[in-house]
Every structure is written in C-alpha cells, then in structure tokens.
Amino acid sequence: MKIWEYIVRRLLLLIPVLIGVTIITFTVSHVIPADPARAFAGGPKAQPETIARIRAELHLDKPLWEQYFYYLNDLIHLNLGKSFLENRPVTTALAQYFPATFELTIFAMIIAVPFGIIGGIISAIRQNKLSDHITRIIAIVGYSLPIFWLALMLQYVFAYQFPIFPLEGRLSAGMTSPTTFTGFYVLDSILSGNGATLLSSLHHLLLPAFTLGFATLAIILRMMRSSMLEVMGSDYIRTARAKGLSERTVIYKHALRNAMIPTITVTGLAFGGLLSGAVLTETIFNWPGMGRFAAHAVLGLDFNAVMGFTLVVAIIYVLANLIVDILYAVVDPRVKLGGG
C-alpha cells in the first residue's frame, strides 16, 4: 500500500510542475515578435481576412494572460490546439511522431546501457590498466562530441564514403511500413512476421541510435566506473574479501548490486536528455519523430506544436524520475520511499 500512496503523491506533484512548464514555454514562445498568422496564411500573398481569422483562432488579439487561460482550458479538455505548420491537430501529429522517437530512444538505450555498464565494470576492476585507459578515453570523447557533428561525420563516412548504412529515414525506399500495431517498426515487423521490414528498420536505426546513445553510453560508463571503485573500496567489500569469498562472488554478488544504484539514477536522467538530443539527431537523420517536429515548430514559431512537445517531454521526464526512484527501492532495500 505504501508504494501506491507514494506514486499517487508523486503524480499529484506532477501537476504544479506541468503548470510551471506551460507558463514558461507559453510566455517565452508568445513574447517573440512575430506574425505567425500571416506566415500560416501564406506569407506576402495572404488574404487579410485569413490573417484576421487565424489571429482570432489563436486569440492573438487578446492580452497574454487571457491567451494563457484559453490554452489551459483547452488543455484540460485534452486539446493541444492545431499545428499551423502541419495544418492538423497537435495531438494527431504527436501520436504519429511519438512511436518513432520512442523507438529511436529505446534503441539508443539498448546501445548505451549494456555497453556503458560492461565498460564501467571492466574499467573499474582493471583500474589504471590499459583497458581502463581506453574505456575512459572513449567515455570522455563520448561526452565531448557535439551530437550534430558526430551525426554528420557518421553520415559522411558510413553513408557516403563507405555506404554500408542508409543516410536517413526509417525504411528503404519503395518499402511500405509494416502493419501498424504499435508504431514501432521493429516491433510491428515482428508482430506481422515481415522479415524484410524488420531488417530494413534495424539497419536504419543503427546510425541514429548510436549517435543519440553515444553520449549516454559515456555518462553511464563513467558513473558505473566511479561507483564500482567506491563500492569496492568500502568496508563491507573488504569484509567479504576477508571472509574468503571468491573475487567473482564479491564483485558480482555484492559490489555490482550496490554500484548499480547511482547508475540507475543517471540512466533515468539520461532518458530525458535523450529526448533533447533527439531534436538534433532526428533533424539530421530525417527521422520522422517528435524531435524533428519540434525543431521545425520552434523555427516556424508554431506555438501549439512547441507547447505540445514540451509538455510530452516534461511528462516523460518526470515519469522517468519516478520510475528511477521506485527502482531504487527495489534494488536497495535500505532506501525508503518518500523519505525526503
């Protein structure tokens, strides 16, 4: 029962955070001196009546605080408004783009988490040996690379000079998407038994997922290494060693379990970071997801779309944090939920 109370309390705390998020993004996006109504109505050729109608629909003729209450009212009715760039409701657009981004993010995690953890362990148990130095250098390079530059370089090398990977997109040209169950092409391909789209979608996922996941891999690796080192230097590990337990048992039964705790936190936080990274990665790899949608929306000042994206990412971020905290309790029984 305690855990449910805790979850409910945390979910209630989500509300003020989300209100704060909407206030900030709303204010920031609406004080921009721009004429989106004219842009949506067709630029210099826009008809005055069309401009006036779009202004009225967006309530641009009202004071800012009033506009915000219109927005909140729509939000309560689960209406995120219309994306004027795409000429359709924001919810429809997000529903289409979300699975693509989620699939990419999950694959980035699939690359980042195991390699990060394995690398961190190797680095820690072989501290100051050659393999430690190599993995540490990989890690430091990993979070020193501008993600967009890494993407461009990978494209140049692996899609242009040595075309072993596709440059962009989710599937090869001429291929139709697998029957939609979830919107994740890999999963849908498996569910519909379509081997060709499965291979093609994995092939297309690799470069962008690696680009997106590399920095996260580095962060996890570094965290895993330092927490392993810390744990291995602690008293109870010394005790375990002294008791004559094999080094293997000491590391994998005792040290690893405790070293995982900070790694889990970092992984949870990195998940939110991945969604930010997706903005750049998706733009360069022409990945039809939320990040690319958001980049277009910001540059085109499509307010409703920007707000919708920010809201979704904020919710995911907060939920990821919640899951991390719950996992904490599972991994480490000493942690009490709701303890401040």
């Binding site: 996006s29 461009l152 939110g272 903005v279």
Partner: protein
C-alpha cells in the same frame, strides 16, 4: 594537491589543451593569416557594438586544405584556419560568461534555500523542477528565438536554462554541511548566518562546485554550438564554430574540410575541459583514490 593532480596524465593533457585555447585566443592576431575588419553598429536596444566582418573572395571559394589555407576555404572564400583561430575568442567568451553568471545565480539562490529551508526552499525546488523538466535545447531555442539572433542572446538563453543545476548542487551541499559539527560549532558560538554561509559553508562547497564548473564549461560550448547549428545564435558572417559547421553542412560531400575542422576545434576544447574536470574530480573525491 597539485602533485596528485600531476600524476594523472589525462588531466595534464586537458590542462594543456585549455592553456593552448587561452594562448590561441590571446594571440589570434599573430596566429591567423587573415583578419576580420570591424564596424561599429548600433543595436535595436540603442547601444553600439563592434561587429566583425570577414572579406569575401568568391574567386577562391571551397579550396581544399593547402599551405596557403591550412584548413581550406569556405563558400565565401574565407580562410577557415583564420576563422577558427578568431572563433576561439568567441567560444571562450561564451563558456566563461555563461558559467560565471549561472554559477553566481545558482550558488546564491541554492545556498539561501538550503540554509534557511522552509517555504523559500520549497518554492525554489519547484522552480528548478520545472526548468529541469523542459528539454534544455527547446527552452534555449525558444528563448533565443524570442530575443533575436545574436551571441549575446544565446548566452542569456543558456544562463536561464543553466542556473537551476547549480542551485540544486549548492542546496545539496549546504544541506549536507549544515549538520556538520564545525558548522554546529560556529553556530553555537553565535556566529551570524552570513558569516557561517561565507566562511564555513561556501569554502567547503567549492570543490564539487569547481568540478561541476569545469565539466560544464565544455557542455556550454556544446549547447551553444547546437543552437548555432539549428539556426539561432551567432549572426551570419561571424567566425563562430557552431555556425561554421551549420554553414558547411550543405557542402559536406564536396568540401569535407568545411564541417570537419570547426567540429574538431569544438571537440578538442570540450575534451580539454572534460579531461581537466575528470582529473579534478578524482583529486577532490578521496573515495575514488585507491
């Protein structure tokens, strides 16, 4: 402390890179082959600023690297090497200013919130929650778009998105230190709050703060470059590394040097800060020394 630091080869390399950056920025006029000219223009806010201008030579555009142009030329026929050298000044300015100001704001607010607690603390933590739940890139993008395209504006945008990290860090430090014996002792002899904060808590929080700052200096450069890359940030025609990559992207297939060298410059500097930061962390965190 320094001798420990010296034992770490990687952080020495980091330090060397940063010293190199400082030297390049300082002696740019002597290192570069070509130099920008300057013009004095007034801004929309009514102040005047000096803007750099690079001469256009369409007759020698997109030349590959050679002894004349070490890193080749761009689509305006400008010498990429010279622009990267001068760009170091811009990069350094962005990193230092953004971090200095956001540290100041974050330490001040986080310190007060942690020390006094209560409602102030609660409000501040909720505000930082909000900021940390918005993808920084989108927030910075929106703010930069709102303010208009210029380096000063992306710096403002980044300060707004960056300070909460420091506020969190400082608050955590203060909470931990507040209960320590030496602070209790100072309080029991009747020291004033300000004295406890500045003489006892702040100095003892410096080490983790310093590590975070060093690591963030690199991160700031990455975000600034990302903003320039998307199309906000430095104004057209200036030597800013992110902007150069953004401009060079269109020519990637027939002028690889255009995106490659500014990118390497960014990687090198960020790497320098990160190596240094990692080294500092190892030194200041005794638990990691074995």
């Amino acid at each position: 402390m320094f001798h420990l630091f010296r034992k770490s080869l990687l952080s020495m390399i980091g330090l060397a890179i940063i010293i190199l950056l400082l030297l390049v920025a300082l002696f740019a006029p002597f290192l570069a082959k070509e130099h920008p000219s300057y013009a004095e223009v007034s801004t929309e806010q009514g102040t005047t600023q000096v803007e750099e201008r690079w001469e256009i030579h369409f007759d020698r555009k997109l030349l590959p690297p050679s002894s004349d142009h070490f890193f080749g030329t761009d689509d305006y026929g400008r010498d990429i090497f010279s622009m990267i050298v001068y760009g170091s000044q811009t990069s350094l300015r962005i990193c230092l200013l953004v971090i200095a100001i956001s540290t100041f704001i974050g330490v001040l607010l986080g310190g007060l919130a942690g020390y006094f607690g209560g409602v102030l603390d609660e409000i501040l933590m909720r505000i930082t929650d909000v900021f940390l739940s918005i993808p920084y890139l989108i927030l910075a993008l929106a703010i930069a778009a709102a303010l208009g395209r210029s380096i000063d504006h992306i710096m403002e945008a980044m300060i707004i998105t960056w300070w909460p990290t420091y506020a969190r860090l400082m608050r955590g430090q203060v909470l931990a230190l507040r209960e320590q014996q030496f602070v209790e002792a100072a309080r029991s002899v009747g020291a004033r709050n300000s004295r406890i904060l500045f003489r006892h808590i702040l100095p003892n929080s410096l080490a983790p703060l310093l590590v975070q700052i060093t690591l963030d200096l690199g991160a700031v450069l990455l975000v600034a470059a990302g903003l320039s890359f998307i199309g906000l940030g430095a104004s057209p025609g200036t030597a800013e590394w992110g902007l150069m990559i953004s401009d060079g992207r269109a020519f990637m297939f027939h002028a690889w040097w255009y995106v490659t060298f500014p990118g390497l410059a960014i990687v090198l500097v960020v790497l320098g800060f990160n190596l240094l930061g990692d080294g500092l962390r190892d030194v200041t965190d005794p638990k990691l020394r074995r």
